[in-house]
């Protein structure tokens, strides 16, 4: 644990230095920061968009914006919340933009059935277990999907998600609750009633 804490402190210090360098236009610092955080950004974008090419483009865009708007970033604060915010915002916009521009009819059928346009070649490469999990994730409304990804995949707290998405904690809780129920149902897991929420297993008298 001490090693992990030491690593995190070291990473934070280095991020601080790298941001200062980026503010002066240092491209090497940008490359180093990219190496350090690329997985976080790429995987979050991929989980939200369900499109490998889009996730790659969005990752590039996130770091380009980091470079461009480095002056606005406070080096004393952790960079990860900024990266999460930028990634989710861009991914959110990308999904919404794609919805407004329907493509081939096959994509449209996918879109109607799953709520998102899936990249067929990408989905074909996934193994069955992950495809099932990913179908469950893709079936969620976008707002719930974003919260589920940040909470389950990135281990962020409700408070952190609330700050990243700039919505109240109660809204995050609600989206997570309904997202969780939908995921469990999709995966055939037992849906247990939670305190303070209506029992969704109750089918009436």
């Amino acid at each position: 644990l001490q090693q992990l804490v030491r690593y995190k402190v070291k990473a934070a210090v280095n991020d601080h230095d790298l941001i200062l360098k980026i503010q002066k236009g240092d491209l090497e610092a940008l490359g180093e920061l990219y190496d350090r955080h690329q997985r976080l950004v790429y995987r979050t974008a991929l989980a939200i968009t369900n499109d490998g090419e889009a996730a790659a483009d969005l990752s590039q865009d996130v770091f380009l914006r980091l470079f461009r708007f480095a002056e606005n970033i406070d080096p004393a604060r952790a960079l990860e919340p900024w990266l999460y915010r930028m990634t989710t915002n861009l991914a959110y916009d990308w999904v919404k933009r794609r919805r407004r521009w329907p493509g081939p009819i096959e994509d449209l059928v996918d879109f109607i059935s799953t709520g998102v346009r899936q990249n067929p070649s990408y989905v074909a490469e996934m193994n069955d277990e992950w495809r099932e999990m990913y179908d469950a994730l893709a079936s969620l409304p976008l707002q719930q999907r974003v919260v589920v990804v940040l909470y389950y995949m990135n281990d962020l707290s409700l408070q952190e998600i609330s700050e990243i998405l700039t919505v109240p904690v109660g809204t995050v809780k609600s989206r997570l609750h309904y997202g969780r129920i939908a995921m469990r149902r999709h995966l055939g897991l037992q849906v247990q009633p939670e305190a303070g929420w209506p029992d969704l297993n109750f089918e009436g008298p």
Binding site: L27, Y34, S59, F63, L64, F67, F69, M126, V148, L187
Partner: protein, 91 residues
């Protein structure tokens, strides 16, 4: 995460995420674009830039540069001043 199904969902998502690697070419594309952008936009990488959004400097090539400050000696303010001042007062 309070029960087994939560842990299952979390673990599956993390396993899936761990198996996904970003393409190798993003880094070089990123650095190329950043270098190109900083070459073509002088507001990039300037240590004295006070804000990062596209600055007034980009308007320098336009026909009528947009005044950037509130100085009394700016031409547009002088034109306004002359138009609003009665001639008899000037004389």
């Amino acid at each position: 995460m309070d029960n087994l199904s939560d842990i299952y969902i979390s673990q599956c998502l993390k396993n899936w995420a761990a198996s996904e690697q970003p393409p190798n070419n993003i880094r070089s594309r990123l650095l190329l674009k950043a270098a190109s952008a900083s070459l073509h936009d002088e507001s990039f990488a300037s240590p004295d830039a006070s804000f990062a959004y596209p600055s007034y400097r980009q308007s320098a090539g336009s026909l009528f540069p947009i005044p950037t400050g509130g100085s009394f000696y700016q031409p547009l303010l002088w034109v306004l001043h002359l138009n609003l001042t009665p001639i008899k007062n000037i004389a």
